[in-house]
Structure formats: structure tokens, C-alpha cells
Symmetry: C2
Subunit: 477 residues, 2 copies
């Protein structure tokens, strides 16, 4: 790293020695987010929100292909609704925010701000679903939810966050199972294709599943510090919520039956994953497909005649070909701008000065490799497009290598603990006993992330009993 650059990056903590502070520095200094006035809340600033909008756009397209319809359900849930499903209320009760007063008077029934909407959506479904002809019912909403958290960090864990939550009702358990897995696939494809994030996907153990679900599937992304982040979940709720909410349908045989429901969601947590999977000592690194700014144009010697005009011309060309471009023609020095957009993770920098124009080129610098290239101005759209594709592919490759190298197969508990403490994810056999799992968690704060595969040929890494499955173990965000 050149001396000059070092001076610019001084104000971000060292990613290798203080990852937590590095994260906070990066998200605040790149204007992705700020702290809200109420403890535990965040303001998502335009540079962060644009990332969320790109996720929304991608998922809305994929949702549409499989028949998901967007809708909007009320945020306030009567307290009695939440109590209908026993495990559900137990799971969420400690985290809810409660409205007790509205319109100038105390409310006769307390209203819960949704921590998730199963109970209210199922209540509506119960009204709308009468027959197998009404199934499947497949709706999604983009909304805010509130879960009152003691310890919070922007994007990763906040009292209010944004998410989408999809809710389906099917006529059979296999169909509900299909929905659950289909959505997990859509999510992991989104992370891979849009965000260049590979994930570990699989079923959660009984201890770790969603409150009220039959089965929870999750995708876990592994951050640069080796910790896992639950990046999206898909729940097969079986008939639990249908029974609690009385969702009954007349099946093809004319028999009244409870429906089989699922729910699935991803949230603004994903923005945190993006930062922690790709970032480096200089700040953010954004994969082109999700970057709010894919290329930044920086005029060199901008006062020389023709430089700004050429920059504007190149910008127009790129923009009209749907490349997201910013031209920074502010009075700051080129050096300041180089640092600024590196920190902001813009995948491609285009420098255009008098000499470049003379040679009919722009000087391009890749954020992922720091490689410097000359692009031909008369073919700039295609060359930029090609480069953006290359950067996207390379960032996925780097992330895949990181993921691969962070997984360690272990066959004894000491190795498991040591690996995880050494910033790895451990792959180990487990007996499947929830008490054994809880003991590990209590002793070490290590938890099973997802089930890798079922297996009864080995011994549990902790208690030595016959194995039930092979699990990824790690620390979690």
C-alpha cells in the first residue's frame, strides 16, 4: 500500500486486529447508516438504503416467477393473537413493544407492534381460505418489524428493522415442505448472484428453530472474522398456526382439514453481511450487481479544457446503458476522491485526464484487485460491462475461497472449541439431543448453525452418544 493511501485509511480501525470497530467505522463513514435517537434503532441512509432497494428488486422478480403476490398487513396485532400459539408467544414475548394508549385514551386491549406477522396474517387467511381451490395462498410483505433488543448493532441487530416476510398456506405437508425449500433456494441464489455471498444452507436443530415451527431452514454466511450470520430463514410451520388460527379448507375429498403453512424472510441484516464478507482494510467492497454506484468517474486536471465535458459524455454513455455511474466533479482533490470511493466500495474507478483523452482511453482501477487498466473510450460501454462482470465473478470466487478455508472438520470437542475460537466454523457429528446441544452453548457460546447431513455412523463430538447428524458449529452474530 502506498504511503499516501495509508494516511487516508487511518480513520478506519484495522480489520485484522479490531473487526468490530472496523465494521462500525465502515458503515458510519461510508454513510450507510447512523444511530437513531431511540436506543437500538438505526437510520438507513441513502447509500445503505440503495443496497436494500437492489435486494428488493431482485427478490420481487424471483418471487413473481413463483407466484408470490405482495400485500400489506396491519402492523398492530391484538395481544390475544400473539398468545394463540404457545411456543410462538414464549419465543417473542420478551422482545415485543406494546401500544397501550392511542387516540387520547387507554386501549381496552394492548396492541403489539409486529415482531413478525404469522398471527395476524394467519387470522386473515382463516377468513379467506375456504376450499382447496383457494390454495396455495402465497403472499409477501415488505415492512418494518420491532424486536426490542438489549444489545444492538446497526443492520445486524436493531430494535426496528426492515424485512420481507412471505406466508404461504398449502393443502399438504409435502407442498409446504416444497415452499420452504424453494424459498431457501431463492434466498441463497440471491446472495450468490446479487451479493457474491456463498452460504451454508440447511435445517436448524430443534433448539435453534423458529418459535412455533415444525422445521426451520437457514442460510448462514460466514463473515471475515469467522463468525456466522443467519442471513435468511424459511420455516415449515406445519399445521401449528393453522390450528391456532383456525385455517381450515375443504379438501378434494370434501373433508374439512387444517392448512399447512410456511413463512420465510430476509432482512436489512443482509447489508451487514455484505459489509463483513467483502470488506477489507480500506473499507467496503461492493459486488457490482448490488453496488449503488458501479463506477465512479474522477476527472484529472479537471480545469483543463475538455476534461469535464469528456467525463460527462462518458457518464451519459454508461448511464444510458443502465450502468450506475457517478461523476464526482466536486472541488476535492483526486487523491481524496480515490480514497473516498475506495472506502465506499465502488467496484470500478475511471480516471479521465488530458493525457487519457489524448490517447482515447480512460484509466480504470478495480476495487477488488487494485489492478489498473486502460479502457478504450470508443468502446467504453462494453469494456466497463465486461469488467463489472469480471469483478462480480472474482468477488464470488474470493468469498467462496474464504468460506471453504474457514470450515474445519473436527472429531473431538477440544478441536471444535479451538477451531471456533480460531475464527473457524467446525463441522462435527452430534447426537441430536437438545440438552447436549444446550450444554455446549452454555459452556462455550458455540451453537450449531445448520445441519450438514444426517448420519448415525459416528459418535457425538460432545457426549459420545451415537450421532444423529453432522452439524456446522460456530459463533453467531
Amino acid at each position: 500500500m502506498a504511503k499516501q493511501d495509508k494516511q487516508f485509511v487511518n480513520d478506519i480501525a484495522d480489520i485484522n486486529t479490531d473487526f468490530a470497530q472496523w465494521y462500525t467505522d465502515v458503515i458510519l463513514k461510508t454513510d450507510m447508516v447512523d444511530y437513531g435517537p431511540v436506543k437500538g434503532t438505526m437510520v438507513i441512509k441513502p447509500y445503505g438504503y440503495a443496497i436494500w432497494e437492489n435486494i428488493q428488486e431482485y427478490l420481487n422478480k424471483e418471487f413473481k416467477k413463483v407466484g408470490v403476490q405482495n400485500a400489506y398487513f396491519p402492523m398492530l396485532i391484538p395481544e390475544s393473537f400473539l398468545k394463540k400459539e404457545a411456543e410462538h408467544v414464549e419465543g417473542f414475548a420478551p422482545e415485543v413493544a406494546v401500544v397501550t394508549y392511542a387516540g387520547g385514551e387507554d386501549l381496552s386491549e394492548k396492541l403489539i407492534i409486529r415482531p413478525t406477522s404469522e398471527t395476524i396474517i394467519c387470522a386473515m387467511y382463516s377468513k379467506w381460505i375456504k376450499s382447496y381451490r383457494d390454495l396455495p395462498m402465497v403472499m409477501n410483505q415488505w415492512c418494518n418489524v420491532i424486536r426490542w433488543e438489549k444489545t444492538t448493532r446497526p443492520f445486524l441487530r436493531t430494535s426496528e428493522f426492515l424485512w420481507q416476510e412471505g406466508h404461504t398456506v398449502q393443502a399438504s405437508m409435502p407442498d409446504a415442505d416444497k415452499d420452504t425449500k424453494q424459498m431457501l433456494k431463492i434466498y441463497s441464489d440471491c446472495l450468490r448472484n446479487l451479493m457474491a455471498i456463498p452460504t451454508l444452507t440447511g435445517r436448524k436443530t430443534e433448539n435453534e428453530k423458529f418459535a412455533g415451527a415444525e422445521a426451520t431452514y437457514s442460510m448462514e454466511a460466514v463473515m471475515k472474522d469467522g463468525k456466522c450470520l443467519q442471513a435468511g430463514t424459511s420455516h415449515n410451520l406445519g399445521q401449528n398456526f393453522a390450528k391456532a388460527s383456525d385455517i381450515k379448507f375443504l379438501n378434494r375429498d370434501g373433508v374439512l382439514e387444517y392448512g399447512y403453512s410456511t413463512s420465510w424472510g430476509v432482512s436489512t441484516r443482509l447489508i451487514g453481511a455484505l459489509v463483513m464478507v467483502h470488506g477489507d482494510e480500506r473499507g467496503l467492497r461492493l459486488p457490482p450487481n448490488i453496488a449503488p454506484i458501479q463506477a465512479v468517474i474522477i476527472p484529472i486536471a479537471s480545469k483543463v479544457d475538455g476534461v469535464l465535458d469528456k467525463c460527462a459524455e462518458v457518464k451519459e454513455k454508461l448511464v444510458s446503458n443502465e450502468i450506475r455511474v457517478k461523476l464526482d466533479d466536486s472541488n476535492n482533490t483526486p487523491g481524496w476522491k480515490f480514497n473516498e470511493y475506495e472506502m465506499k466500495g465502488v467496484p470500478l474507478r475511471l480516471e479521465i485526464g488530458p493525457r487519457d483523452i489524448e490517447n482515447g482511453v480512460a484509466t480504470a482501477v478495480r476495487r477488488d484487485t487494485h489492478e489498473k487498466l486502460q479502457l478504450h473510450l470508443d468502446n467504453i460501454v462494453q469494456e466497463v460491462n465486461n469488467l463489472l462482470k469480471e469483478i462480480q465473478a472474482n468477488m464470488l470466487k474470493q468469498a467462496e475461497e474464504n468460506l471453504k478455508s474457514s470450515i474445519v472438520e473436527v472429531d473431538n470437542f477440544d478441536d471444535l472449541v479451538n477451531s471456533v475460537n480460531d475464527h473457524k466454523v467446525a463441522l462435527a457429528y452430534h447426537c441430536g439431543n437438545p440438552e447436549c446441544e444446550s450444554e455446549i452453548k452454555q459452556k462455550t457460546t458455540i451453537t450449531p448453525r445448520v445441519i450438514h447431513s444426517y448420519d448415525s455412523e459416528h459418535k457425538c463430538v460432545y457426549c459420545g452418544a451415537t450421532s444423529k447428524y453432522r452439524l456446522y458449529f460456530g459463533k453467531q452474530y
Copy 2:
């Protein structure tokens, strides 16, 4: 109307004799909306939500053109924030919902669910804005808000609704004024171009302005029953909120000065306006540009070989040309389907049966004129596109004629009252005295909608004093 049709429409109230019931019937039976479990709340179902998404898409494009950036601010506002601006707290206090308990304990400070976000956004702006270089600051958020209402109707007035709220800070009053008017123009263009709704736009009187604003501008749409609906507002807040929130910037002369802020919003009310401006005795009529389904294909004699295939082929052609098409190949009768999609307001119906296929045509029926036409299957994309454009233009023309014919110029108070009671909007001179205005309102429930023009050459229609302006008077939703 044919006899057979009449039987189908029986279940919607008569638009001419019971407009209120007609509205409720239409929005419920077309699956736009349902009542939520908490009094005053609504569930926006997919057919209604798709309309909202089309509004979002249109406005996001227009916002981007003028430099608006989307962001997200926390929903919960400390009670003390709301109290900072005296008129603002007075205006909103009776309508707020209050969180008093969260995360298992009573909160030390009550939190208000945003009825609008001026106070919290200005608090953040105060932190972010230091110098004229930080201005203008122009952000928008799409979110839910809560205003606890005693009397509610889906879309028109609900305890929770969805909207966008934009908030800008400028370095001078003229710039804030420019923002305010620019947004009003974007809104009224949206209604005209997307929704085929012409509006009356102008400034509100002092009595009718937003709590805490210097000036409020509004666009008012006139419903088929002659009542006005405030469809969007844009507020010049002057320095009121900047002073309350301490938004100060160092101006170009190096002097610390308070900023000049604006705010502007449209909400899911617009969906109600769409219904009540265009609907008829058969139900909804949706302008093609905003219709979730622009054309519905209905197979005739669908069991005859080749009919369904041809329908699917036509659908694919239209869909791949970005026309929003539904093929209804369900087991319901064609007659049932005709009625269903008429009620749902689908602009164009395409019937395709064996005889049509033989003749190389589809039989098209326009929702706006009930006109029947033959379209050539080998040129179907262009012919459908042309027809959709014609329908859009014709619906705007019809709405403009309705608006024009609903305005009556009056020069005495009896005529004003009689006109408004006769489902008209009255245009009359007024003295501008807030007490005179309040008296009119108290006596008649008639309110000034917007200022038509300034004028001091006439007498007030009510008190006879010298006029200040000419006002549109009407009843409001």
C-alpha cells in the same frame, strides 16, 4: 345493459343512489382490501397493493430525476421530539399511538409511533448539516404511519396507512418554495399521467394548512359524488422545524443560519381516489397505465382443440412486450369471467374462441366504452398497445369533463351551499379571515379546498368584506 349482465352486478350497491356503499362493495369485492382485526386498520390485498407498487415505481423515477434519495428513519419517536414544535404537537397529539412498554419493562420515555416524521428527520438533519455545502438535503422514505382516527374507511382514512414522505432542507426560502411547488407538480403529473386523474392544485388557507407549516399546497381530486379528496400535499415549513430542531448551516458568507425545510407526501388514499374518480355501476375502471392487469384473455369454448394454446401464445407475446396480462383458464363460465374482470376494472378484455382463431382475430372489449372490436392476432401487440393508449387518453378526457362540469362559479352564499349540496365544487370569493372561514365550516361542513387565485376586487361570499382570494369550496373526504 343486457339482462344477463344486470344479474351479475346486483351485488354492488347502486353508484347513483348509494355512493358510499358502492365504494365499500367495490373495494371489498374486487379484493383490493379487507378490514384488519384492529378497528380502523386495513389489509391491502394484492390487487390493491399492485396499484400502490405502480405509484411507487412512477414516483421513484420522477424523484430520482430531481435528486431525491430514498432512506429509512426509525418509526418510534421520543415524545419530547414531537413537543418541540408547538403547532405540530397540537395538531397531532390527539391522533398518536403510544408505546409505553417494551422489552419486558416500562419505558422511561414514552415513544410515539410516527404520525409523520418531520421531528425525527429534522433531528437527524441537524446532526448531518453543517454548511451550505451539505445543502440541499433531499430525502424520501416509503413507510407506514399511524394516526388514530375515530371514523375510518379503507384507503380514505385508516389508523395505519402507507405513504411516502419527502423532507428537504434548503439554504433559502425561495429554494424551499421551489421544492414545495416542484413536488406538487410531480404529484399532479403522476395523477394525470399514471392515474388519469385531473386535480385542482393550489395553496391551502391558514386554517387548513399543515400543523407547523408556513404554507401548504395541495392537489384535490373531485370524486364522482362531487366531494373533494386531498390527494397529496406539499408543505413549505420555513424555518419553523429548523428552529425547533436546531438545523443550522454556515452560509456562503460564513454566517450561521437556520435551514429552510419542506415536506411532501402522498399515501394509499390515492387508491381510494382512483376508485371514486373512475368507477361506474359495474365496479372499478382502471386506467391502463396503473392497472395491475391491463388485459385479460378469456378463452371461449376452451375445450375445443387449439383454443387454450392460442390463448397462451397470445399471452406470451403480450407479456414479453411488457403488457400486464392475465389468462383466465379457470373452469368458470365466460359470462362469470366477463363480469368478474369488468368489476375489477381491467381496461381490456380479449375473447379468443374457435371462430376468432379461424378468422385470425381476437374479440376485444373496452372497459371504458364497452366498445367491441376485432384485433388481428398477427399484429396483436401493437393493436393492444394502441388500444391501451386510447383507453388511457379517453379515461383522462372523461375525468376532465367530470371535473369541469362539477365546478360552479357562485357569487352568493345560498348558491354556494346549494351547489355543494348538489354534489358540486363551488368557486367563490372570500375575505381570507380565518374566523369567517371557520363559521362557514361549522354551519355547513363546507371547507375551502385550495386557493384558486388572489383577488381584492370582490366581496366575500359569506361576510361581504373585501375579498382576498378566490377559493374552491367543497365537502371533503
